[in-house]
């Protein structure tokens, strides 16, 4: 049996996903998520106890390079797409009371 998605689980998902949902949206999402997890539950029919999780198809190795100073992207380009900027910096809402 798949995990039961409760209202409390939805509250936690809202925090993790950084989304704001109305009560109606939350209820709809809860139903959809439950249906999806019930479906995904079929994976438990497969015995994978001695199978390693496969993250990369090809072996990935650390790529080393010399630590050389290079020209970086100019600040004004990086700030050009910012919703708000001030004095050459990203402007965010006040975070310290």
């Amino acid at each position: 049996m798949a995990e039961i998605i409760t209202d409390k689980t939805m509250d936690e998902i809202e925090i993790l996903a950084k989304l704001h949902l109305t009560a109606a949206e939350k209820e709809k999402s809860r139903g959809e998520m439950q249906r999806m997890l019930d479906y995904v539950d079929m994976l438990n029919r497969l015995d994978t106890s001695d199978v390693e999780p496969l993250t990369h198809i090809f072996p990935v190795e650390n790529v080393f390079r010399d630590d050389e100073v290079e020209e970086s992207t100019p600040k004004e380009q990086l700030l050009a797409n910012a919703p708000q900027e001030k004095d050459g910096q990203f402007l965010v809402p006040k975070t310290i009371g």
Partner: protein
Amino acid sequence: MHITDHTATELAEKIKLGEIGVTEAVKASLERIGASERAVGAFLTVEPEKALERAREVEDGIRSGRYAGPLAGVPVAVKDNICTNGTRTTCASRILENFVPFYDATAVKLLEDAGMVILGKTNMDEFAMGSTTETSAFAVTKNPWNTGHVPGGSSGGSCAAVAAGECFAALGSDTGGSIRQPSSYCGVAGIKPTYGTVSRYGLIAYASSLDQIGPIGRSVSDCAALLSVIAAHDEKDSTSVKRGDTDFMSALGDSPRGLRIGIPNEYLSDGLDPDVRDAVGRAAEWLKDAGATVDCFDLGLMEYTIPTYYVIASAEASSNLERFDGVKYGYRAAEYEGLHDMYKRSRSEGFGEEVKRRIMLGSFVLSSGYYDAYYLKALRVKALIKRAFDDAFSRFDIILGPAAPTAAPKLGTSLSDPMKMYLSDIYTVAVNLAGLPGLSVPCTVNGLGLPVGVQLIGDCFAEKKLFTAGAAIEAARAADGETRFTRPVSVCGGAEEAAHTGKECAR
């Protein structure tokens, strides 16, 4: 023959011989866009002035020998999740509505280096999440063959643009079938290359372990030529693979004689539309006639591929899309209370429904207490799926099957039931999970006038075999008198148009 009736490689050849000018070709594409866009809606951004300026530059470059490649001078389109320096790149999402990158994706830079001319950016499902291009926040793209139907997705804009003759080729991206399925629906050829073949630098990430950029063309040879242009090792992408065999055009003339083709029994089971079954059957016959052997076999694990895919893809999406927080780029909500509320409101207002659905599922399967049961479990099943393909490729050179269970569905019929939409990816997602190359080739046209393609799947790095077999299918199709893939009838309108394409429009 109208300029836009040429394939990309034919056009490039005539440009090289001086028979067609680059500016002339770009103008012809722009005219075609002007005539067809109202019906098709493939583009989100078209930049005529930039394209014409670039055409003059390329003309000089061809004259001076700077651009000597097989696609120099060819007008192309780029999917709107691939960054283009100075040109708006939206992922068809409100959250990136005004995003203008200050750099080119590596694949785009390689197009430019090859002397190709970018016409504009094509519509897609928002953040490539969807199978119909209907989750786009900005526009509805229609299938050029029958405008009551979807073009497929998520690279629906790129495939529709190529099918409608608005460009000679296009770049798409494929995370779970997003090049191969719309290619099948739109009657064009498209390939998802082996993972790591094309750099993902500048491709706005959906699921990084599955995403690949790939070419879409009117012919298999156009796909091979364009893949040769964009396949290169790139130190800016840590998963980029060093491979030397990127001259894909060399495989086009090879005989398919002796190729061992396998058709998984599961691929022909219940739920498959008779038109699609017929297309797979015809492709098998054509390949057999050309000297290949065709056998059915049990691939296994088919029903597990979709749940595995959606767990892994959603998990990666939830992580990748955390960067959209209303601070560095993209949409910021107008009203909020404090930093955290700003994040939540910006994301809730900026993302569409399907994107939020996947972010929520991904956040859940990665969360403490569920990570092992869902995410790690899916990665273990992925290992089993990879093994099943390894086993198949010990016996076969190519796996033949459908690209989608049906031809293109009607507009407005897919989004109401997300689960049903996910299930339509049944023939494509496993290829991404196993990192394999998959080529979609147009095969037949059904009773509604909609194209049906087939999919050829190869082992890692076996693109050349796919191009050999794909070219053989194309040749056999032409020999059978199947010429309907040259031009969709529905976009042929107006006297000027009819004069260009003559008989085809009269049909």
